[in-house]
Structures are given as structure tokens and as C-alpha cells.
């Protein structure tokens, strides 16, 4: 394994993607505000994109497939952020707080 050519092997990218997913899940469990959980969710999206791109670059005959897929993931992440942030704003108007511990009652 030539260290100077480390960026031409898929292993490093796959391990980094696994680390990003683990960091996202850790944050999703540990964070106690809605925006913190949203940021952890974005990390999980990034992990999936990086994993797909690494496999796409090294092990797939048609390298456009993974790029198109990663583009769609980015579009969905952008739509998700818009919706989640508007929900956060609406929740903050009603409860004056976005701490997950205080959002424990349902009200129609």
C-alpha cells in the first residue's frame, strides 16, 4: 500500500463515511435541541453521499450513476432542511423553547 497514493484507494473513504454515520447517530442520541438533531441528520446524509461516491468512483462501470444519486440526495437534504426549520420556527412560537425535553405534550 503506497501511502503517497492513499487517495486512490476506496478504504479510507469508506472508513470516513462510517465515522460520519457514527458521529451523526451519536449526535442524534446526545443532542437535546431540535437544531442540534437536525445538524446530526445532515451528517448522516453526508455519510451516505460519501459512501455512494467512493463505491461509484472505484467499483462501478458507469461513474455518472453515483454522481446523479448524490445530487438527488443533496436536493432531498435541502428540501428536508427547509421543512424542518419551518417546523422548528412554528414550535418555537408556540412553546418559546426548542429543547426536546420540554416538547412533551400533544395539543391539537
Amino acid at each position: 500500500m503506497n501511502l503517497l497514493r492513499a487517495y486512490e484507494q476506496a478504504d479510507i473513504y469508506l472508513v470516513v463515511a462510517a465515522f460520519l454515520l457514527a458521529a451523526g447517530v451519536y449526535g442524534l442520541i446526545r443532542r437535546r435541541t431540535l437544531i442540534g438533531m437536525l445538524i446530526s441528520g445532515e451528517l448522516i446524509f453526508s455519510a451516505s453521499s460519501l459512501n455512494i461516491m467512493a463505491l461509484n468512483c472505484f467499483y462501478v462501470p458507469d461513474p455518472t450513476v453515483g454522481q446523479v444519486f448524490a445530487l438527488f440526495v443533496m436536493g432531498l437534504a435541502a428540501a428536508e432542511v427547509a421543512i424542518v426549520l419551518s417546523i422548528i420556527i412554528a414550535v418555537y412560537r408556540n412553546y418559546r423553547s426548542i429543547k426536546t425535553r420540554e416538547l412533551s405534550e400533544l395539543n391539537g
Partner: protein, 177 residues
Amino acid sequence: MNSFPISDYLAIVIFVFCLAATVGGALLAVLTARIIRSVCGLMICCIGLAGLYYFLHSPFLALMEILIYVGAVCVTIVFAVMLAEPDEPAREERSGAAILWGTVALTVGAAICWGLSRLSLQGQWTAPAAKVTDGSVKAIGVSLLTTYSMAFELISLVLLVAIIGALVIARTGRSKA
């Protein structure tokens, strides 16, 4: 052989820098108590990811990563941070539940990282004999407008619905307040 021998070292230095930015940004994003630092961590992570995409022979994706994540997503989150007051509450003093949940989160994270790394390092991946296309921006455009045209149209519909839905959700609370 390369005519400019320093360029090998330069490439590996830039690669390590991108890796460090990705990992460090992710750690910053999940570990800091102030949310605004967490958003900055997400930005650093996305810039590092853009560099990694560039190393994976897709400069278009690197550009889009910076444009969408750093330019749109993080800025939108910063707006929400300004509108709400989302700082993490001060940790309860060594309560049993906090320690328990910290341990659970760390265990789950470490298990996922270890398991997935092991799976992907031991997998019998086979490289293809030949590439069908070169993966250039032109090839992406052609496949977006031929093979994936339906999904392309649907994603624009999803974005439109998301914009309208965000407006509706954020507006109803306003009329009451």
C-alpha cells in the same frame, strides 16, 4: 514518471487536510455545547467533503456540495439559530440518566463505526473491467436529461412542495401570535 516530483507530496498533503477537515468538523458538530459552533463544524465538514469529492474525480459534486450545503443549508440553519434560542441547556450535575445516555450514545456510535469499517474493509469488492463513461459533467448532464429525466422532474416537484409547505407551516403560527 511525474515531471514535477513535489506534486505527489502536495496531493497527499491536500488529501490529509481534507480528511482532517471532514473528521474534525464532524466532531465539532456533535460535541460542542453552543449551537452556532456546531453549525460552523458542519460547514468545515462540508468543505472537507467537497475536497474528498474532488479527489473522487467529481468536481461538479464538489462545487454543488459547497454551493448547497455551505451556501444554503448552513446559512438557513444560522437564520433559525438567530430566530430561536437553541443553546444546549447546562448539563445536570452528574445525574445518573445523563451518564447513562452518554454511555449508550458512545457505545452505539462506536459499534456502528467499527462494524461498518470492518464490513467495508473485508468486503470482496471487484473493480470493473472498463468504464462505460468518463463521469464528466457532460456525461452527468446527458444522463440527467435522458435516463434520469423522470427523477429530475420529480425532485424539482419535491423542492417546490417543500418551499410551499415551509411557507404554510411558518405562516400559521404567525397569525396566532
